[in-house]
Amino acid sequence: MARAPTTTDAFNAVAEPRRRQILDALAAGERPVNDLVETLGVAQPQVSKHLRVLREVGAVDARDDGRRRLYRLNGAALKPIYDWVSNYEALWTDRFEQLDLVLDDLKRKEQGDGGDD
């Protein structure tokens, strides 16, 4: 099956490092574009271009506030990515919990100075 084009695919849209920076910045709350320009240190046309891609996949919503346009994160569109990461994170969390048990065992043995188990 063909890969989805960038503009319809949240994974691809979010894979771009600048766009991830924008999402990180918006995670703290709703912000106008000038704010993002300042935070990222990137020219406004660039930021606007990235915001357009993020809006197209629904990762970011915009609303007008007087003369300003405010952008905010849309968590629902990012859920597939969150699910992926959280599955992976859960695997390692469980794996490391087992490793904790092994380490407790090793520590006990070492404190016993290699003597009786």
Partner: protein, 167 residues
């Protein structure tokens, strides 16, 4: 959330090709390293409570091979193997890793990652970081993508397997 032991693994995506896994252990690093590199011990933790580890082979030297196999509850065997590229005892292990059950549409090459495990000790506690590097962004995206094309329920199950392959 009252008594938090902060035992969650932390997973982040530093770049388009990378996955970073981090966790601190209440043990000196020579023990964490030992648990990480001794077959009988790996058998005890690598299953992540999702099944049984059926094989662990570790030839811990540069150029040496490793292979882990487990059976997920009720599922088929899944295997992973690779080669050690760099070994600094108690400090760092760099190895390749390939998932043997590559999802459809992903080449074996693209299913191979370069993994760097780093052990650092502070006050008797050890921070373990595992940096997983896929060949390129397309490789990582393709692996993720192949999971998302299945139905939602299947996707979540597949994603878990794929996530394992990225370890």
């Amino acid at each position: 959330m009252a008594v938090t032991t902060s035992s969650k693994a932390r997973v982040t995506l530093p770049t388009d090709e990378q996955i970073l896994i981090e966790r601190e252990f209440d043990a000196p690093r020579h023990l964490v390293y030992k648990a990480y590199t001794t077959p009988e011990l790996v058998r005890q933790w690598w299953h992540a409570k999702r099944g049984e580890v059926t094989l662990v082979e570790i030839d811990l030297r540069v150029g040496g091979k490793w292979r882990y196999v487990m059976t997920a509850c009720g599922g088929p065997e899944v295997g992973f193997h690779g080669e050690y590229r760099e070994i600094v005892p108690n400090e760092r292990i760099i190895s390749t890793e390939m998932f043997e059950g590559v999802p459809e549409g992903v080449s074996e090459e693209d299913a191979t990652t370069l993994n760097t495990a780093t052990f650092s000790e502070t006050d008797g506690r050890t921070r373990l970081t595992i940096l997983v590097e896929a060949r390129n962004k397309v490789a990582r995206d393709a692996i993720i993508q192949s999971g998302m094309e299945a139905g939602l329920q299947d996707a979540l199950e597949l994603l878990e397997q794929i996530a394992v392959s990225l370890r």
